[in-house]
Symmetry: C2
């Protein structure tokens, strides 16, 4: 068990539920940390929107978590990281970590040939953020927008022939553009819920790529950051976890449990305007 | 050609692009009318959100159009009509028409057996608005939420085997619950773009239902309302059409043309907060 400082509060933000896959991994690494999560569910999805809109939404969401006492902030959303990480860092007085750089570093650790296929939302792909982050660690990115995967996960079709077929169609196009790559990076925090389906499809087409999950990589990077900036750590028993959403708390409780992998007991509604 | 009063400006509002299918039909019936359309694209989709959030978004959007000079308002969005029509009517000093009552009346005109299968978003179905509106005209509703159909239309997969398969899955479930019905009501303004696919699937399963399109029905009801409240009509040549969106105008121009069936030349960005 990793020790964490008394009272350390980690803010985790996503447009919706996907960021709970990051929190899920984070709770394994830092079980003693207090966490505060915001899903901006009234304004989701970010993935199909413009940079200006995404930045405005993400900055106001991150500010809310900082006002609630977060000591550091995890932007557990690829789209918000890709389009607004610098804006958020400029707006907050606390350390802010995104999912893309950790994802790129994790890909560097496993990529043998230097090529990485990235599946992500339309906005993340259009931003070119993964291409830039992977180039910074010496890798070449092939990015593929997969707009239907988030709706399929939210419909609960994580084990469903239609989802397998949609993944197959997206991967067919992507793999023919990247015939040599052996590494697949999940560039959206919804995708860990369909990692098994992706593995199945990849094996079906005879391309069993290594799958790198940016949620796990981000949790590990956050734990390292905590150890670095809060070196004098102590344990807290029975830490608190708070959840906020900008839309229906009932839906958040219900869907959130699938992403978090454990019950989400209490969710508070917050109005960020709009 | 129907005559319309000089200067009559019709406001048309939707969360996104779907309402353009209503405007498309309206322009056939009232080619001389000036129209002003708002797509609240920064906050779409409404269909998966709560009543409170949808009402807040819809009222602020409708108010914007009224401030821009709309003389009457068409809520060209099933979800906003289902959850917020009364709130919008209470907030605006101009006549406001929704899509659900016209849809129910059109279903009444064709339904022989008194049963109607309604396909719509999750929020529309949860509201029970179609069940109520159809009961008011003596019909029994079977409502089916189809959360993947809007994303499939927005992905451009209007003629695609995956879309046919998703429609088949939704209709299989819905038709077994409504074994006798011969009428299918499209309770979402995105669905006219996949009406051909629905027809194909229905024929494939041996249930060639009559399809009622609430977009067409609403355009006809709007034309009747215009004739009623503005009886002294004159023609205007070369009317204006204005388009506003709360997110990317480039995307609106591109996607909007598919829904409107003609080019969308100029779109202006508007910030409604959020």
């Amino acid at each position: 068990m990793t020790l964490v400082p008394r009272g350390l509060k980690i803010g985790v933000f996503d447009s919706g539920f996907g960021g709970l896959t990051v929190l899920r991994e984070l709770l394994k690494l830092l079980p003693g940390a207090e966490s505060i999560y915001l899903g901006d569910t009234a304004r989701l999805p970010y993935g199909s929107k413009s940079r200006e809109t995404i930045s405005r939404y993400a900055v106001s969401s991150a500010k809310f978590l900082e006002e609630q006492g977060a000591d550091l902030m995890v932007i557990a959303c690829n789209t918000a990281t890709a389009l607004a990480l610098e804006d958020i860092q400029a707006s907050l007085p606390i350390p802010v970590i995104g999912v893309i750089e950790p994802g790129a570093e994790a890909a560097r650790a496993v990529s043998k040939d230097g090529d990485v296929l990235v599946l992500a939302t339309a906005a993340t792909v259009q931003s070119g953020a993964y291409t830039k982050a992977l180039a910074a660690v010496g890798l070449k990115a092939y990015e593929k927008a997969c707009p239907l995967l988030v709706p399929l996960v939210e419909e609960g079709w994580t084990e469903h022939p239609v989802t397998d077929e949609v993944i197959r169609i997206y991967l067919d196009e992507a793999l023919s553009a990247a015939p040599e790559t052996k590494t697949l990076l999940l560039g959206c925090t919804h995708y860990p819920l369909i990692e098994a389906a992706m593995r199945r499809v990849l094996e079906g087409v005879g391309r069993p790529l290594m799958i790198v999950d940016s949620a796990k990589a981000t949790a590990a990077a956050t734990a390292r950051l905590v150890a670095e900036i809060f070196p004098n750590v102590t344990v807290i028993e029975g830490p608190g976890r708070s959840f906020f959403a900008t839309d229906s708390v009932a839906k958040f409780r219900k869907l959130g449990a699938d992403f978090l992998g454990q019950p989400v007991d209490e969710v508070r509604l917050v109005d960020l305007g709009g």
